[in-house]
């Protein structure tokens, strides 16, 4: 039987701590809103802003279980470039700050951990507790004494009877959420750093990952009117209803970002309704409206495509190892027939087919990368990997070869983790509203960590000569950027593509276009085109393939050189296989030259010996995936 003192000690201490959070610091109006009208905006989106939309802090019940001791405040400090002390003791800092951060703590965890305890009102009604409450506010010494008293009383069973309040748990959740929103406002600095509200909705039927991150456009004036939507016992449609209700009631906006489809065992992107019945147009439209973007790459693997689905794509299979074995906790193995519902490229193709049948495309989404770090440290950098969770921060020197916590000892190892990705948003400035709107119009892209600048415009009139003029203006005025749609007619679409390397990173190997389309029989097809690559004269296509760029990585030292590859690759590309009126999508994939992964940095730093398989995977071509541009027949 539960010992009462434990229960009450928890309740009391929490109540004391929570009571401190009741009043919020006044924050400048420009910082607490959506940022509209606070800074001067560029005419067009002029640079990609870098962020992580998927970070967990100690407010997430599992992150806490994994041991993290850093909260949202430290998370924000780290993301904007400050040095913080990680849970395991070492100092952590980003080489380059991020421009925005969405803290996405589990909605269930958020309320639930705090519901372990009781509400402030409880204190005020009881004399003893009220006294402790007052001691708390007197000085830290007094507050420690109060807690010591409280624990003693609790242990002796002398605690006063608590009043029960049906609204107490709800109030506690609200306290935590409101406090969190206040913290975000304090760190939100229009023009410099956007601290964006969100949460993770964690639906996981039988261990199959159907998680979404929900991201808000607004400041605390609006977001404080709702609570994070629980994932337990709810459905995705109910989540979308919640988001729609939020928009209607507050005038704000929210969007949802599915992630780790690779661990859904085919359930994330089904051709049917969740119950197996034929998909309805209403469902497809609802899903499309709520979910304009997916997270395609993160620490727990990459979901672009799988070699089984894309046998002709020689670059498929990045970040697939280990994750392809089964669902999240590895309670159910993945079979080949499940893969199509688990990967993003296939989902984009399914979307075309469903749109043909239903008139609405549930899977017309853009792509971002993020971390899903549970350490409060938003870093996707290979040479600065702080682990999936506190149990594999760098303090665990053998983390690269150790078995993972999820599905331990059945085939997933530390080195299967990616360092995590980033989300790049083409925006006119750095405010909550500008960043959110970029997501909403899908003018965003994913990288597996490097910060390369990738632009693509789709249209029908672009020419090589456009590079000599103001091609960005032409792109926007005569075409559409990534995430946009074109009407499919007689002419083949043209794409103006520019990929600029990460200024502090590796050179580029090649730029590819991935096309998905419905053929004349209505069957889903895909094709990968090499559009432009470095040293094209010396790397002539041979046997239908572009020769490999080479490899400068020193395995003994975990270093590489930029002696190969290119600083920028750009081209105007026309689809050579276009058929009139075709329904298609096109996205750009940019590959860097081979560089060391975090596992190789670990091996060198800590003197760890990687297995042959892990060693072979310790060097990779990091990449970027843009949101697609769609080609739709006129209605």
């Amino acid at each position: 039987m539960m010992r009462n003192w434990t229960k009450f000690a928890l309740a009391g201490i929490s109540a004391l701590a929570l009571s401190a959070c009741d009043s919020l610091m006044p924050v400048d109006e420009a910082q607490s809103g959506d940022g509209e009208g606070t800074i001067e905006l560029a005419e067009f989106p002029d640079r990609p802003y870098w962020g992580d939309t998927h970070l967990h802090t100690d407010n997430s019940i599992d992150a806490f279980g994994f041991g993290v001791r850093l909260g949202p405040e430290e998370a924000l400090q780290f993301a904007r470039g400050d040095t913080v002390t990680a849970t395991t003791g070492a100092e952590a800092k980003l080489a380059r700050p991020l421009d925005f951060l969405v803290i996405a703590d589990h909605s269930d965890g958020l309320g639930a951990t705090r519901r372990l305890y009781d509400a402030p009102r409880f204190l005020i009604q009881d004399e003893t507790l009220l006294r402790w409450h007052d001691m708390m506010h007197e000085s830290p010494e007094q507050s420690q004494l109060a807690i010591a008293e409280l624990i003693t009383a609790a242990a002796n069973g002398d605690l006063p009877e608590a009043l029960r309040d049906p609204e107490a748990s709800e109030e506690n959740t609200r306290d935590i959420w409101t406090t969190h929103l206040g913290t975000l406002d304090r760190y939100n600095t229009p023009g410099e750093f956007s601290a964006i509200a969100g949460f993770e909705w964690t639906l996981m039927p039988d261990g199959n990952n159907l998680h979404r991150v929900v991201m808000f456009r607004d400041g605390s004036d609006r977001t404080s009117q709702v609570l994070p939507f629980p994932g337990l016992s709810t459905t995705a449609e109910q989540l979308w209803d919640y988001m729609a209700a939020y928009a209607k009631d507050t005038g704000g906006q929210a969007l949802a970002i599915p992630h780790n489809s690779n661990l859904s065992n085919g359930l994330m992107f089904e051709m049917t309704m969740p119950d197996g019945s034929p998909m309805t147009a209403a469902y497809a439209a609802k899903r499309a409206a709520a979910e304009p973007v997916v997270e395609v790459t993160q620490i727990k693997g990459d979901s672009e495509t799988h070699p089984f689905l894309s046998p002709n794509d020689e670059m498929a299979g990045f970040g697939v190892k280990g994750w392809e074995l089964g669902n999240l906790p590895l309670t159910a193995k993945t079979t080949d027939d499940m893969l199509a519902g688990s990967y993003v490229r296939e989902a984009l193709k399914r979307g075309l087919s469903l749109e043909e049948q239903l008139g609405a495309n549930p899977y017309a989404f853009g792509m971002v990368g993020s971390t899903d770090s549970h350490t409060s440290l938003a870093t996707g950098d290979e040479d600065n990997f702080w682990g999936k969770h506190t149990g594999n921060e760098p303090a665990s020197e053998d983390r690269a070869v150790a078995a993972q916590n999820l599905g331990t000892r059945v085939g997933r190892f530390g080195w299967n983790y990616l360092a995590g990705g980033y989300a790049a948003a083409w925006a006119r400035g750095n405010t909550r509203a500008e960043i959110f709107d970029a997501f909403q119009r899908r003018e965003v892209y994913a990288t597996t960590g490097p910060r390369m600048s990738v632009r693509v415009f789709g249209g029908f009139g672009f020419e090589d000569a456009d590079w000599d003029g103001d091609w960005v203006r032409k792109g926007y005025s005569e075409g559409v950027p990534m995430g946009g749609e074109l009407t499919s007619g007689a002419d083949a679409p043209r794409f103006m593509i520019s990929a600029l390397k990460d200024p502090d990173g590796a050179n580029l190997d090649r730029v590819q276009i991935v096309k998905g389309y419905l053929d004349s029989a209505g069957e889903m097809q895909e094709q990968v085109y090499d559009v432009v690559w470095s040293d094209m004269e010396s790397r002539a296509v041979f046997g239908g393939k572009v020769p490999a760029v080479g490899d400068t990585v020193d395995r003994e030292a975990a270093t590489y050189t930029n002696d190969i590859g290119a600083a920028e690759l750009r081209s105007v590309w026309t689809d050579p296989d276009f058929a009139e009126g075709q329904r298609a999508f096109y996205y750009v994939r940019v590959l860097e030259i081979p560089t060391p992964r975090w596992s190789l940095f670990d091996a060198v730093r800590f003197g760890i010996t990687l297995s042959d398989e892990a060693m072979a995977d310790s060097v990779a071509q990091e990449r970027a995936y843009t949101s697609p541009i769609w080609l739709r027949p006129s209605a």
């Binding site: 539960m2 951990t113 708390m136 200024p503 600083a567 920028e568």
Partner: protein, 269 residues
């Protein structure tokens, strides 16, 4: 203490924490029952609470079927919760232990979280930490890009005698002109090496360089540099955030020292 291997599995921690969550959901849910009881009474009050909870989450009342599902879920949770307690799953739990430790830290820092520092306090904090709030630089400059250093050096000669400078460099998707750009912005677009060297340049109407970047070589004309907006008012929010963090850390440490003094700690060497 030696614990079985499974107890160190974070997933198990999560599951136990989850069980606790359910437990406290039930506990704060308002039914004042002894967990050892084998009667689960979902009376009208309890049902009303479940309905209310549903309504707060969904923004509407539950249908009869939905309420039935809520009740079913509640009963399931309650049964498992009580069985978990009977099995003693709450005892010696690492999560509870850690949570308590964390709460002690939080409580110690709470007063600082509440405090609203006045300007004098913040000014003193600024004076003590001057190096952290160095004046931000804003630069306005033109740049021309070259793959090779020699080409950049040659262009330096040509651009001096030329009326138009645009078009002299090689094509690259970088802005030829940056206006009042922060050091942070320059670094994001041109990289660490370039921004560092640029920051040390003197302003002037002449072209300088070449400067190296991750892309290649640049010659630049640094037209203007101004100290960014870093007056006290502009820094106020940041100072307030940082002051509060420092206070919390300090109070935690002081509170710990105070408590620790009451212990005699024996460590076998």
């Amino acid at each position: 203490m030696t614990m079985p291997r499974w107890t160190r599995e974070p997933l198990v921690h999560f599951l136990i924490a989850g069980a606790l969550v359910y437990a406290f959901f039930a506990w704060t849910g308002g039914t004042a029952v002894d967990p050892s009881s084998r009667v689960i009474d979902v009376d009208r009050n309890a049902q009303a609470e479940l309905a209310l909870q549903f309504e707060r989450t969904m923004g509407r009342s539950p249908t009869d079927a939905e309420l039935d599902a809520q009740i079913e879920q509640y009963v399931r949770d309650e049964v498992l919760y009580r069985e978990a307690l009977r099995l003693g799953l709450d005892q010696d739990d690492a999560i509870v232990r850690r949570r308590l430790v964390s709460k002690m830290d939080m409580a110690a820092g709470a007063a600082a979280e509440m405090a609203e520092p006045d300007d004098a306090t913040l000014q003193a904090f600024l004076d003590d930490n001057k190096e952290r709030y160095q004046t931000a630089l804003n630069s306005s400059f033109d740049q021309l890009y070259f793959t090779d250093k020699t080409a950049a050096e040659a262009a330096l000669g040509r651009v001096l005698g030329s009326d138009g400078w645009q078009g002299i460099g090689e094509a690259i998707s970088l802005p030829p002109t940056m206006k009042s750009a922060s050091q942070r912005d320059i670094r994001a677009q041109f990289g660490e090496e370039f921004s560092g060297v640029l920051a040390a340049l003197e302003t002037g109407e002449d072209w300088r360089g070449p400067l190296r970047s991750g892309f290649g070589w640049h010659i630049v004309r640094l037209r203007e540099r101004s100290a960014g907006e870093t007056g006290f008012d502009a820094l106020r929010q940041q100072l307030s955030n940082d002051w509060r963090s420092a206070q919390v850390a300090e109070r935690k440490e002081r509170a710990f020292d105070l408590l620790r003094d009451a212990y005699r700690i024996e460590i076998d060497r």
